[in-house]
């Protein structure tokens, strides 16, 4: 792996902290006991803003923190969460951010549709494929009830989140926060 510059490390560390803060931003849903949290926004924006390499690392560092600290939404964390029924979602995040980053960095100024599409593929497809698989394995249930419980209730909300995250990513790109292949100045 290419050595990380100090500036890249700072971005990754602060982004992982940002993920924790986003876990406390909740939109309660009227029809589900599980609220929408800001952390999925974080995963999508990590890919779109930091790019594939840094996005992957930011979420990997966040997961590593979650291995020992309660940083996931709702204040959970620890090795038990990874082995538990919801561990697949958490483990899928670095991959999701990588894919979103990869798809959006193909063009210099990605359009709304491209970011939205990348968010759907990474933030929904990758996350739920891994998440539901682990849910089914750990809770020892069939795939269909696992999808009904672990994916379907969230997908409408997640599609909206994909769109909102794409809008936010475009606005943030205008701020030129991160040199996409970062570390140029350091």
């Amino acid at each position: 792996m290419q050595k990380l510059s100090l500036r890249e490390m700072a971005y990754i560390g602060v982004f992982a902290a940002l993920m924790t803060a986003l876990g406390y931003v909740e939109i309660p849903l009227p029809f589900s006991p599980v609220p929408i949290t800001g952390q999925t926004f974080g995963v999508m924006l990590a890919g779109a803003l930091l790019g594939s390499r840094l996005g992957f690392l930011a979420l990997a560092v966040f997961d590593l923190i979650g291995l020992v600290f309660p940083v996931f939404a709702g204040g959970s964390g620890g090795p038990g969460v990874f082995a538990g029924p919801t561990g697949g979602y958490i483990l899928s995040w670095p991959l999701a951010a990588w894919l979103i980053g990869y798809l959006t960095e193909q063009v210099p100024r990605p359009s709304f549709l491209r970011i939205f599409g990348a968010n759907v593929l990474g933030g929904i497809l990758v996350v739920y494929t891994l998440g539901v698989t682990q849910l089914a394995l750990v809770a020892h249930i069939d795939l269909l009830p696992a999808i009904a419980k672990g994916a379907l209730p969230f997908i409408p909300g997640d599609l909206i989140k994909c769109a909102v995250a794409a809008v936010a990513a475009q606005r943030l790109a205008a701020h030129r926060l991160v040199p996409r292949q970062a570390g140029a100045q350091s």
Binding site: G13, A16, T20, V25, L67, A139, K161, V164, V167
Partner: protein
């Protein structure tokens, strides 16, 4: 509101679990999870349950506090129980309309739910009995042998430390931005789901802009102080295994050996 949240549930203390090396506790937790997923019958579960309860007792923490950690997974345990009761094929023992609970299902459901409860209960002891700094150090030490494979151990630990340092700052900032936007008329509390999701934009944009600015400042400050990365860097705290750590690790390995025996022997 957001400011009330304290990260880390670490409760300082002097119990045996508190004094163990953080590496021992991390490795021990992983071995424990392994054993928990291997055992598959009543005696196995009973032994592991007794083991878990002994650990909680050794931690010297109030039971009430440890049990509180189990609350978030209550629904998932319930869901596991119910689905396994009714969806496992086997001898029907109870019928409720079209739903048929089977003997095998009840057995399996109870074991699975029990396993999830123990999983969360026991692994929460890790964060309850170790300080954040000890845990980060522990992870860095544990990752160091993998440096040859391209795992940047020191860098990962440094990024974790940066993240932990900034979590309270960013929580406070999130709170501040929410209040500032509400003062400008932003509405985070009402409307349908689309409106609420869109309401996140005025929160997300300033939050990210601020966070990246902080990251930039931090990098500049570290450069100005000649931070050079992990090579040749000395540490304030050196981790050292004591006799109790070897004993604890041996007990963890024995637990895994027991669970294997439980699984393989009839």
């Amino acid at each position: 509101m957001l400011r009330d949240i304290t990260l880390g549930q670490y409760i300082p203390g002097t119990s045996l679990l508190h004094r163990l090396d953080p590496r021992t506790k991390i490795l021990g937790s992983i071995l424990y999870i392994l054993a928990l997923f291997i055992v598959d019958d009543l005696p196995g579960y009973l032994v592991i349950t007794v083991f878990s309860l002994v650990l909680v007792a050794l931690s010297g923490l109030p039971w009430r506090y440890v049990l509180r950690g189990v609350r978030p997974i209550f629904y998932i345990v319930l869901f596991t129980l119910v689905l396994n009761f009714f969806l496992t094929p086997g001898r029907v023992v109870w019928e409720l309309g079209p739903l048929k609970a089977t003997e095998e299902g009840i057995r399996l459901g109870i074991f699975m739910g029990w396993r999830l409860l123990l999983l969360v209960l026991t692994t929460s002891l890790l964060t309850l009995t170790s300080s954040p700094i000890a845990l980060t150090d522990g992870i860095e030490y544990l990752l160091t042998p993998f440096r040859g494979l391209g795992v940047p151990a020191h860098e990962l630990a440094m990024m974790m430390t940066i993240a932990l340092r900034f979590i309270p700052t960013l929580l406070e900032e999130t709170d501040k931005i929410m209040k500032a936007q509400m003062a400008r008329g932003a509405d985070f509390e009402t409307g349908n789901i689309v409106q609420r999701a869109r309401g996140m934009i005025p929160l997300l944009v300033p939050l990210f802009v601020g966070a990246f600015r902080r990251a930039d400042d931090l990098a500049t400050a570290m450069e100005a102080r000649c931070y050079r990365g992990g090579v040749g860097r000395t540490r304030l705290r050196e981790l050292k295994f004591a006799a109790r750590d070897y004993v604890a690790l041996a007990v963890s390995v024995l637990l895994v050996a027991f669970s294997l025996a439980d699984r393989l022997l009839p």
